[in-house]
Every structure is written in C-alpha cells, then in structure tokens.
Amino acid sequence: MPELPELNPVIHGKLRLALLSLLSGVEEAEFTWLRAKTGATDGNLGAQLLKLEEAGYVAVKKRFVQRKPQSLYRMTEAGRKALTEYVQALKQLLGGVIGS
C-alpha cells in the first residue's frame, strides 16, 4: 500500500491557504483587496502574510499611491510549487480516504 503524503503545515492553515490561492490567480494584490476577499482582520491577515513571506511563498513590495502607503503581495515560484504539491497531496489523501 503506497504511503500517504503529509500536508505542508505552512499552507494548511485556512487563511494562509486562501491567501495563496487568491494570489495564484493574480499578478499581485494589495493588502486591502486581500482583506476584503478573505474577511480577515488587519492583525490576523498581516501575521499570516508574514508567515508566508518568511517561508518564501510570497514577496511584498511597498509603494505610495497619492501619498498613501500600499503593500503589494505576489506569489513566488516557491509558493506556486508548494501550492501545486499541496493540491496533489490533498487529492492523493482524498483518494485514500474514499478508498478506505
């Protein structure tokens, strides 16, 4: 019987998974857009994005638009690879659960 894969704990958190999935569909996204889409609080969102940034899955760029600061987040290649592997592992696990 083949061994079932483990799920990446950095991605497995619901909010972090939602953030990576959102970022996979856009080139880059602003903090407020991510907040609106996930419904998370500023503090929680900032903390989860920092974890993804520390893991090398997202990169952040700061800029000013009409004198207001903006934080732009984009998914890195490592993040894309990690999300792809996570989905594959998830599908494999689901197959295992359905089979058992």
Partner: protein
C-alpha cells in the same frame, strides 16, 4: 466516522482553493464601451467624409478624438483602479496587450499609407479588416469567447471583399461589419459586463 470527518475537512480545503482561485481571476474590467466608441467614430468619419469637402480632415480629426477619448478614459480608469486596489490579472494584461499592439499598428500604418500616396480606400479597409480580425480572434481565444471569434470572421471577410470587390462593395461591407462587430457586439459586451459586475457586487 473519523475517516469521514477527515474526508470532509480535506474536501473543504479543496473547495476553498477552487473558490479563491476563481475569486482572484474574477475580472471587473469593462471594455464594451471602447467597441461602441470606435464604431460611432467610424460612422462619424464616414458620414463627414461623404457629405463634407474635407475627406482627409474628417478621418484625421475623428480618429484623433476617438484615440484621445480612449486613452484618456483608460488612463483615468487605471488610476482609479489603482486607488481602489484592484489587482492586475494575467488574463487582463494578455487581452490589453493584444489590443494595444493592434491599435498602435493601425495608428502607424494607416496614416503612413495615406501620406505615401500609394494607397486607396480598398487597401485601407483591407488593412483595417485584417488587423481588427487578428485582434478579435486573439482576444476571443484568450477569453474563450466564441461570439468574438464570429466578429473576427466578419472582419476577415471584409478584408477579402475589399481586396476582391469594387470600392462600393468594400464601403458597404465596412458599414455592415462596423455595425455588427463594433456597435452591436459592443452593446452586448456592455450588457454582459454590467450583469457580471452586479453579480460581483452581490457576491461581495
């Protein structure tokens, strides 16, 4: 029982991924008005040049005004989008790049043909038909929109008619293609965009 709960949890994660990816790709951009604007601009230029004495001026002024209106409105909307922190999508950039490249090609080629003195109206209409056919076809393939590919076929048919037909046949074909592919298609696109944006607003 535990296996069942675990399965539901995993399915929930998979569904979250699908929903969020779709949410990220959901576009709120609206381009139907550009088709209508250029469709009206062509008719204004055609009418002005047919009934006025300044044929070259009619086309130059109308096309310049349409171009300024298009770029001005697009720049204003982009800056507003940046303020509203709308993210850029690869799909949006792909479609924009196709239309921008074709727009620049037309802006360079058509006045150059006019200045060279080696062109005639059939050739200009054939160039317009070919370039608009190319842009509509590329855009329809990116967006997977069959109706727009229909517009591409009409523009290409116009190019062929202009190459093989008389000046009058080319002129009538241009009026028909402009009506269906710019005015009718543009209004239809605007209706679709309004419906989609309403859905996005309700969803939010």
């Amino acid at each position: 029982m535990t296996g069942n709960a675990e399965g539901l949890e995993l399915k929930d994660r998979l569904s979250l991924i699908e929903t969020m990816i779709a949410e990220g790709r959901r576009s709120t951009e609206s381009w139907g008005w550009v088709f209508v604007l250029w469709g009206v601009a062509y008719y204004v230029a055609i009418a002005w040049s047919a009934w006025g004495n300044h044929q070259n001026q009619a086309w130059n002024i109308t096309m310049t005004v349409a171009m300024i209106l298009t770029f001005g409105t697009v720049a204003w909307r982009l800056s507003r989008g940046q303020q509203k922190s709308r993210p850029a999508t690869t799909l949006g950039r792909a479609v924009t790049s196709v239309w921008l490249a074709v727009g620049v090609s037309m802006a360079i080629l058509i006045p150059s043909l006019g200045m060279s003195g080696r062109s005639n109206s059939n050739l200009v209409v054939a160039v317009i038909g070919t370039l608009l056919g190319t842009a509509n076809a590329a855009s329809s393939m990116i967006l997977k929109w069959r109706l727009q590919f229909g517009c591409a076929v009409i523009w290409w048919a116009l190019a062929v008619i202009s190459c093989l037909g008389t000046q009058r046949q080319s002129f009538i074909a241009l009026l028909v293609a402009n009506f269906f592919c710019q005015i009718v298609f543009g209004i239809y696109a605007m209706i679709c965009e309004a419906r989609r944006n309403k859905q996005v607003a309700n969803h939010a």
